[in-house]
């Protein structure tokens, strides 16, 4: 191969810890050719970001490069001085961060920040620099660049901010851009156009890109070549289509199988799952526990939302007039028992607000919600009995904040049940906790450990177990997998489907990811700005959307053409 811009060989990065050295990168060799877009893909903890940081000598102390070589344009970067790297950073290598809102300085105007980068990395001055800044902002497809120059980051959307970050990154005509999850923090609806902008610019100026992401869709769409990593080790490499369609390693194959497809509905994600004897026994115990509360096994109407509206009042400044935002705008839908109903939409579309309103965490300004024939909204919900309240549970988005860190997993799950004295005679709190842990695919001993000792996916299982402990009929799932890695997401989604099938649960499933919703749901509601755009079954939504917004959402999803 000729014309190699960046090459790392046998790169090993070590973080010394109390329990010995932790290898964040273990023997990683990658090559980036000039003008190529190279993806680093892997799940959290794969060390993919560390590669980019190592190149720019940005590894946080006490981590250090223990072994290996980094060559950039034929020159070794190992052991170079800080001054040397200052020359590289910004001028030859641009860096794009994950969260544009924190990557920009909140107390500086956009114009100043772009100009600062131009002053620091080029010889342009005064008028010329200003023209260059305008030009950069125009090239990153920012509307009204002159106005934007005067604005502060908080006055702009995340997508616009990320475009500004791009402008800063390319200001000095670098040879390489390291993009660390550049669209992960952005809304689904803008991810695609933002990503397109970056890739078009880089292709135009023959800038190489190191694209670090967990999103296989993004990789498949933009990268020429891809490296798959896991636990700091190299797994597989090759031209993108080859790796995605004909993965050679088991890990890659599993990873690809776990990616939810938009194009085709599968009953289950094909990921390796083993159910032990103890676990299947536990599921029977839990089933008996559920059957005792004998709720009917039919497809009747469970939930009815009628013209639900709510308005948020926010103060704008100390003396300013109150601002109103529409949370929900005359939303009406029904949900039958045992149905998995999905709600999709971008952030601010009111999808979580709807769920919170059903659970009684958010008051409606008008409209009504009826659950099992009981009104949840009349007289401020006076008709809600404890039974009704407890039969509606929730699985939250962030598994790191949804469990009480000062209680063991078992206490988290059973404390409320014990307090309400809802345990049957034949089942003690301890047994319930252990069986629930087993039935969601954890060890029985998990009940005695604290949430901090678990990974995100395991915590989400505990959160599911907690919801299950109440023998609920209805579970509101608020983006339950968006904080999880794809293989963990696949396992969790499979688990939730199993629960629906076994315990006749009704799930209201909120997500921003159309592909996930398509795999999970019987019907889908598309929401925008607090109002429903359309309700239909998944096939119809994906293949024959009737609303423009749905079409744009589908267009924004990265296409993953897999011969699966």
């Amino acid at each position: 191969m000729t014309d190699i811009l960046l090459k790392t060989s046998n790169l090993t990065v070590v973080y010394p810890t109390k329990r010995g050295a932790f290898k964040a990168l273990d023997d990683i060799s990658i090559e980036i050719e000039t003008g190529k877009i190279v993806g680093l893909v892997g799940e959290s903890g794969a060390g993919k970001s560390t590669v980019g940081r190592a190149v720019l000598d940005l590894i946080d102390a006490p981590g250090y490069i223990a072994e290996g070589e980094i060559d950039f344009q034929g020159e070794s970067l190992i052991g170079k001085s800080n001054d040397f790297f200052t020359q590289i950073r910004g001028r030859k290598v641009g860096y794009v961060f994950q969260n544009p809102m924190t990557a920009l300085d909140p107390v500086m105007t956009i114009g100043k920040q772009v100009l600062e980068a131009i002053y620091a990395n080029t010889d342009l001055k005064g008028e010329q620099a200003y023209e260059r800044a305008l030009d950069l902002l125009t090239q990153t497809r920012i509307k009204d660049p002159k106005d934007v120059m005067e604005k502060y980051p908080h006055q702009m959307s995340g997508g616009m901010c990320q475009r500004v970050v791009f402008a800063i990154a390319i200001s000095a005509n670098p040879d390489l851009i390291i993009a660390d999850e550049p669209t992960t923090a952005l809304d689904v609806s803008v991810q695609r156009s933002v990503m397109d902008t970056l890739i078009d610019l880089c292709r135009q100026y023959k800038i190489s890109v190191m694209l670090v992401t967990h999103d296989i869709g993004v990789i498949s769409e933009y990268c020429d070549f891809v490296y798959v990593m896991r636990h700091g080790k190299h797994v597989e490499q090759g031209p993108t289509q080859e790796v995605i369609n004909h993965p050679k390693q088991d890990y890659t194959r599993n990873l690809m199988a776990a990616v939810p497809r938009l194009s085709k509905r599968l009953d289950r994600f094909r990921v390796l799952e083993t159910v032990t004897d103890a676990q299947s026994k536990a599921r029977e115990v839990i089933l008996r526990y559920f059957q005792e509360s004998d709720f009917p096994d039919n497809d009747e109407l469970l939930l009815q939302v009628d013209k639900a509206s709510c308005i948020f009042n926010t103060k704008s400044g100390f003396f300013g007039p109150p601002k109103t935002t529409i949370g929900l705008d005359t939303v009406s839908f029904t949900q039958n028992r045992k149905e998995i109903l999905g709600i999709v939409g971008e952030s601010g579309s009111g999808k979580s607000t709807m769920g919170r309103a059903i659970l009684g965490l958010q008051r409606l300004n008008s409209g009504s919600i009826t659950y099992k024939g009981t009104s949840l909204t009349d007289n401020n919900g006076r008709a809600i009995t404890k039974d009704i309240r407890l039969s509606m549970q929730c699985i939250f988005q962030d598994p790191f904040s949804s469990l009480n860190p000062r209680m063991t997993a078992g206490e988290n799950v059973t404390f409320p049940i014990r307090t309400h004295k809802l345990l049957p005679d034949w089942l003690s709190a301890k047994e319930l906790a252990e069986n629930l842990m087993l039935s969601v695919g954890l060890e029985a001993s998990a009940a005695y450990r604290y949430p901090q000792e678990f990974s995100g996916g395991q915590r989400q299982r505990i959160a599911i177990a907690r919801a299950m402990a109440f023998r609920p009929e209805f579970i509101f799932c608020d983006e339950p997998t968006s904080a999880l890695d794809v293989s963990v997401q696949a396992e969790t989604l499979n688990l939730m489907k199993d629960l629906r099938d076994q315990y006749h649960l009704t799930l209201l499933f909120v997500s921003h990811d159309l592909a996930v919703v398509r795999q999970m749901c019987d019907r889908i509601i598309v929401m925008r700005n607090g109002a429903i755009c359309e309700i239909a079954n998944p096939d119809q939504i994906i293949e024959n959307p009737s609303h423009d917004y749905t079409r744009s959402l589908i267009a924004a999803m990265p296409k993953l053409d897999l011969s699966a």
Binding site: K18, P62, L359, L361, K386, R389, L390, M392, Q393, C394, F396, Q397, D398, S401, S402, L403, N404, P405, R406, M407, N412, F415, P416, T419, H420, A463, R466, F470
Partner: protein, 295 residues
């Protein structure tokens, strides 16, 4: 905390740093001396039968009438200064620890209900805090004691009034951060009562910042009590604390009997210093930014 965690804590945090280790040993020694004062002290300085006016104002190292040596000298009544210090330490520590614990507990409780209920409760509690914080602490205590008169329990009450407010504020801000987390929503959906949520969910997750401050609060209370006693509004003359001893000897300072006032003062300074050294280290350890590396 499990046993091994406690062991780790002592090994890494307390004995990991020589100054802290020294301070910790100092604190333990002071506590033991205070606890076993009647056994350790050479005489009971407040038993009139045990002291003799003939021994009055002996310099450190001189012998008493009965032949024992007064290491720290005696005061004008013939009391052994070392003994008065040991007994004084007892009073000082008792007052400070009691007041700090009760004051902090009240502060934590008010902070929690303020954060949990919000609205009117929050406004009332926080305005009370503002009112309290707008008085200079020592002035407030002086006023209170001037109104209530002397007495150990009154000093404790005055110190509690001085302590609770800032702790309520700290707890409230920690609790507000926790209340926004999703496990609080989960607790609500579990139909738990407000008391259960506050006690089992909010309290354990919000008290860390205040608990870490506790040693510092205690050392502050020791100093504050000494100040009040020195100014003559603190503990009664029959139960003299370290501050009281300093005040008693103050009159003799210029006549050359320096030890009566200076020695209790030195002990007070060393005591507060020891606690502060340990407290500082614990605070450093509890700082999440620094702690991250040790975990």
């Amino acid at each position: 905390m499990t046993d091994s965690k406690i062991k780790d804590f002592f090994r890494d945090v307390i004995f990991g740093d020589p100054m802290t280790a020294l301070g910790f040993v100092g604190v333990v020694l002071f506590l033991l001396v205070a606890l076993f004062a009647p056994i350790i002290a050479p005489q009971n300085p407040y038993d009139l039968g045990a002291i003799s006016i003939m021994d009055g104002q002996l310099a450190p190292g001189e012998s008493l009438m009965d032949g024992t040596i007064a290491i720290f000298g005696t005061d004008e009544q013939g009391r052994d200064i070392l003994s008065t210090i040991i007994y004084g330490l007892r009073i000082s520590l008792f007052v400070a620890i009691t007041a700090s614990t009760i004051g902090t507990a009240i502060g934590i409780y008010l902070g929690l209900i303020s954060a949990y209920y919000g609205g009117v409760v929050d406004s009332i509690v926080m305005r009370l805090v503002d009112v309290k914080m707008s008085f200079p602490g020592i002035l407030l205590a002086l006023m209170l004691l001037a109104l209530m008169g002397q007495g150990v329990e009154k000093v404790i009450l005055a110190l509690i009034i001085g302590i609770w407010a800032s702790k309520a504020r700290v707890t409230r801000s920690a609790a507000l951060g926790e209340i926004r987390k999703e496990y609080m929503r989960a607790a609500q959906l579990a139909g738990l009562s407000a008391n259960q949520i506050i006690l089992r969910y909010l309290l354990p997750n919000s008290i860390a910042p205040v608990i870490v401050m506790l040693p510092m609060i205690i050392s502050g209370a020791i100093a504050a009590e000494a100040t009040l006693s020195f100014l003559g509004v603190g503990v009664p003359i029959t139960e003299p604390s370290l501050g009281m001893l300093i005040a008693n000897g103050f009159d003799y300072l210029l006549t050359g009997y320096w030890w009566i006032s200076i020695l209790p003062g030195v002990v007070l300074v060393v005591l507060v210093l020891c606690i502060n050294v340990v407290a500082d280290r614990i605070r450093e350890y509890a700082n999440p930014a620094l702690r991250h590396e040790t975990m």
